[in-house]
């Protein structure tokens, strides 16, 4: 089973990289983009097939190292 962890800066925390991308899109005349947020994706190949156990473990990984919860939010998707 794979766990896909997406990490983004929290709403309300200014995202300088997202802002720079937004600016570049404007310069390129891509109109109608209201906001850009940039994050990172971490894909974990897990040994287990137990969804509940996997979710619990990946949640712990996200809290302890993958994300800095002072400034970042994360989502976990199991596939």
């Amino acid at each position: 089973m794979k766990a896909i962890v997406n990490i983004f800066l929290k709403e309300g925390v200014l995202d300088p990289q997202g802002k720079a991308i937004h600016h570049a899109l404007d310069v390129m005349n891509f109109e109608g983009v209201k906001d850009v947020r940039m994050g990172k994706q971490i894909v974990l190949e897990l040994a287990t097939d137990d969804k509940e156990k996997a979710l619990k473990e990946v949640q712990q990984m996200a809290e302890e190292i993958l994300a800095n919860t002072v400034i970042e939010d994360y989502t976990i998707e199991l596939v």
Binding site: V13, L14, P16, Q17, A20, I65, L66, N68, V70, I71
Partner: protein, 224 residues
């Protein structure tokens, strides 16, 4: 003679400058490899120096916080021991939870490397005890992730407890935006005032011929 322990992670690159600084000030220093599980006996100050521990992978300081030596540093700090984090060291101390807040990518996304004027906001702590309140210091900065973030409640606490050490300012002392930091914060300490973190590099400001010796009075405060 004060005993100073200077940590070294893979990617640390200010360890020898920091060692030079504290030896120049008359201290006995030990470079401590991150795989060590304990600090040298009689350590009176721990310095987490600047650099790019683990190549800044994941987030600056995120991997270093799990190095074996960091458990010893957390225990040392919780027991009242003095800890100073400079630049990447500041990032590591926020990641490990010894200091509040976090450091984000600079607002202009550039790596900023230059001399920068700083204002002493509070000097009621050991680190800045030799500086005057509102004094303007000239100290080099060199970082890509120095954009200090803390939420509003956290900021209020910092202000009330006089935990804000330094702010980026111009030569007249007026606050300036350098990297996007909340309230232009350049350095803070914990509530107990024994753990200090700052983005600027006092160990690079020891000789007039190299631009400034304002770093001396900062570092001297910790070994007084």
């Amino acid at each position: 003679m004060k005993q100073v322990a200077i940590l070294q992670f893979p990617g640390t690159n200010c360890d020898l400058d920091t060692q030079y600084a504290f030896e120049k000030l008359g201290c006995k220093t030990a470079i401590v490899w991150h795989k060590e599980k304990s600090l040298p006996e009689n350590t009176e100050l721990v310095v987490v120096p600047g650099g790019f521990s683990y190549g800044d992978y994941l987030r600056s300081g995120a991997i270093a916080k799990f190095s074996p030596i960091m458990s010893a540093v957390v225990e040392y700090a919780n027991g009242g021991g003095k800890v100073l984090g400079i630049c990447n060291g500041f990032q590591i101390l926020t990641e490990v939870g010894l200091l509040p807040g976090a450091l984000k990518r600079n607002i202009n996304l550039h790596f900023i490397s230059k001399f920068q004027t700083l204002k002493v906001v509070n000097n009621t702590n050991e680190f800045l005890q030799k500086c005057e309140k509102e004094e303007i210091l000239n100290i080099p900065i060199a970082h890509a992730d120095g954009n200090y973030y803390i939420d509003e409640d956290g900021y209020k606490e910092l202000e009330e407890n006089k935990q804000i050490l330094l702010q980026y300012c111009d030569s007249k002392g007026d606050r300036v935006v350098v990297n996007g930091s909340v309230e232009s914060i350049a350095g803070i300490c914990n509530r107990e005032k024994n753990v200090f973190g700052l983005m600027p590099h006092p160990e690079r400001a020891l000789e007039t011929i190299l631009g400034s010796k304002d770093g001396i009075k900062m570092l001297e405060g910790l070994i007084a």
